[in-house]
């Protein structure tokens, strides 16, 4: 498996819906194509909501996995 270079990790733990998604959207909007943003979220809805948003907007979901008590979701900006 090739290594994933995370451009920036956004720690949105402690923030309620839709806070984590908003933090990610802000980062992607300001970022460059090819950047990978890793979102940390304690809001369990994020695990369903963020991939849905990524799919809808045509970006790439790198992974969405549960860590100890929170979620790690990585997204590559594709456009």
């Amino acid at each position: 498996m090739s290594e994933i270079n995370i451009t920036k990790t956004i720690d949105a733990r402690g923030s309620y819906c839709p806070g984590p998604l908003m933090e990610l959207v802000k980062a992607i909007k300001r970022g460059q194509v090819g950047d990978v943003y890793e979102l940390l979220s304690g809001d369990s809805g994020s695990a369903k909501d963020v991939p849905e948003w990524v799919n809808k907007m045509g970006h790439e979901l790198v992974y969405c996995k549960e860590d100890e008590g929170f979620w790690r979701i990585a997204v590559r900006k594709t456009k």
Binding site: Y16, C17, M22, V25, W53, K56, M57
Partner: protein, 132 residues
């Protein structure tokens, strides 16, 4: 292809309804929809600068009260984010403003315009509509 459109009509001054309507609107805007929000009746009062400064919101029950106790971005902050990250506009109801003698300066700096219902219907044409 036309951008899909959503209209949100905020009537209630209850925090839970304001929060739900603004949450749907802001996320829709971040997801590429054109969003128009019409704020009227008691909902308009919640957008007054003095009301927001005092956090003087009506709550329907425990969810709203907990929202005020915890660090949650409230309805007007959700709309600010929706505007920043997408195509979202907010309109105040001219009738309610006239009736109450309120000026645009009494409201927080979030409103694109104060308009009547005919003008809003024009903006809402062909959209999904949510009423809160």
């Amino acid at each position: 292809m036309d951008q899909p459109k959503l209209s949100v009509i905020l009537l209630s001054g209850e925090l839970e309804k304001l929060q739900a309507g603004c949450l749907v609107g802001s996320v829709a805007s971040m997801s590429g929809m054109e969003v128009n929000i019409f704020v009227t009746m008691e909902a308009l009062r919640a957008f007054r600068k003095d009301v927001i400064n005092a956090r003087d919101f009506k709550t329907a029950g425990e969810v709203g009260r907990e929202m005020l106790n915890k660090k949650v971005d409230l309805f007007y902050q959700l709309l600010e984010n929706g505007k920043e990250m997408g195509n979202l506009r907010v309109f105040g109801c001219a009738m309610a403003m006239d009736l109450m003698g309120w000026q645009k300066e009494d409201l927080i700096d979030l409103f694109d315009d104060v308009i009547g219902v005919t003008a809003f219907l024009g903006k809402a044409a062909g959209s999904q509509v949510i009423v809160m």
